[in-house]
């Protein structure tokens, strides 16, 4: 279709779809007036039954842990997909060799940047670990904390030292972290099956709400997810960064 035809057809279609959507959305309860029963029940039983004070994380890793398992593996599979798509094939040029990568300096890398990054890295890692481990008490959890954790090694890259980043967080380590985290999460579920009779049933001691070691499996699940997320994103980022170096190298020729 010509661009014009396509846009006209889309315009008509979008107008129709817009009307349909508005009709549907109009039936929603007014903004702010929601009284769904699911949320109420969770609010009521979350703290007492699971000794967790952050109910979003409790839902994520306990009540609806099975959803999170699927989501985990979406992350796992997609990152594998990125590795698959960007992998070297016969006809491709080789991966940037150590030396060439070393010679690369990304624009803007300066001493000041390096100093700042140096300060950032321990902060990021500490913050990441804190958020992962406190998921059941305060806002946060495996996903959020894992991403911050992954940003630590990324700051090394920002400081202009790509090769150092690869030494600090080599590709293989990221992949293994990713797989181990995913497997770890599934094993938490299996633990429920083995020790408490039902898959994902919380089998660890529940502790006191508000303390670090509370809410049983939620904490462990959070750590597994944190490991997976940080591994997965590191793998994805380093794949893309490899491509960036390839482009620069080929462009510089």
């Amino acid at each position: 279709m010509t661009r014009r035809t396509r846009l006209v057809m889309f315009g008509i279609a979008a107008a129709g779809l817009g009307v349909v959507l508005i009709y549907g959305l109009a039936g929603l309860p007014a903004f702010g007036d929601y009284h769904g029963v699911y949320g109420h029940v969770i609010d009521r039983i979350g703290v007492t039954e699971r000794h967790a004070t952050d109910l979003v994380t409790a839902l994520n890793f306990d009540f609806r842990a099975f959803d999170t398992l699927g989501e985990e593996f979406i992350l796992f599979g997609s990152v594998l997909g990125v590795v698959l798509i960007l992998r070297e094939v016969r006809d491709d040029h080789e991966r940037p060799r150590q030396q060439e990568a070393e010679e690369h300096s990304f624009a803007g890398a300066s001493a000041a940047l390096r100093a700042m990054a140096l300060g950032l890295i321990p902060t990021l890692i500490a913050l990441g670990v804190y958020i992962v481990v406190h998921g059941q008490i305060t806002p946060g959890g495996g996903f959020q904390g894992g991403l911050i954790l992954a940003a630590g090694p990324l700051a090394v890259f920002l400081a202009g030292r790509y090769v150092r980043m690869k030494r600090v967080a080599p590709h293989a380590m990221g992949e293994i972290g990713d797989a181990a985290g995913a497997m770890g999460y599934a094993l938490v579920g299996l633990g429920g099956l083995v020790f408490a009779g039902v898959f994902f049933k919380n089998f660890l001691p529940l502790g006191i709400p508000g303390h670090l070691l509370s809410a049983g499996q939620i904490d462990v699940a959070s750590v597994a997810v944190g490991l997976e997320v940080s591994g997965a994103f590191l793998v994805a980022w380093s794949e893309f960064l490899d491509q960036a170096i390839l482009v620069r190298r080929n462009g510089a020729r």
Binding site: D33, Y34, D54, V56, F143
Partner: protein
């Protein structure tokens, strides 16, 4: 006024679709997909809001305080992860497309026509 968030969601959905349909660059199409996805966030979070509700974190407020719906927040979290990962894959595909086709314009991707 109380319908505004949902109207915005519908608008985001449609304008994102428009972005995909009219893009001359794959990256722009992929980012328009992200806009379509943000429509889902707005709908979900808009549904769960309760006037005067606190966040569903009972660390320092007594249990039983009215709180916003925690379930939709979990749904949005899942949604975000899904979106991020699919975008990553699409961007990887875009990198390869540029390598193989030499262009990112959907018009130039002509390996598959009937």
């Amino acid at each position: 006024m109380s319908f505004l968030p949902f109207a915005i969601a519908a608008w985001l959905f449609l304008i994102g679709l428009y972005g995909i349909v009219s893009s001359r660059n794959l990256i722009r199409a992929i980012l328009s997909l992200t806009v379509v996805q943000s429509a889902t966030y707005v709908v979900l979070l808009g549904v769960g809001y309760v006037h005067g509700g606190r966040a569903p974190i009972f660390a320092d407020i007594p249990a039983g305080t009215p709180a916003v719906d925690p379930v939709v927040q979990v749904l949005v979290l899942t949604d975000i992860v899904i979106g991020a990962t699919v975008t990553a894959m699409l961007l990887a595909l875009a990198v390869q497309a540029h390598k193989r086709f030499g262009s990112l314009d959907p018009q130039d991707l002509r390996a598959l026509r009937d």
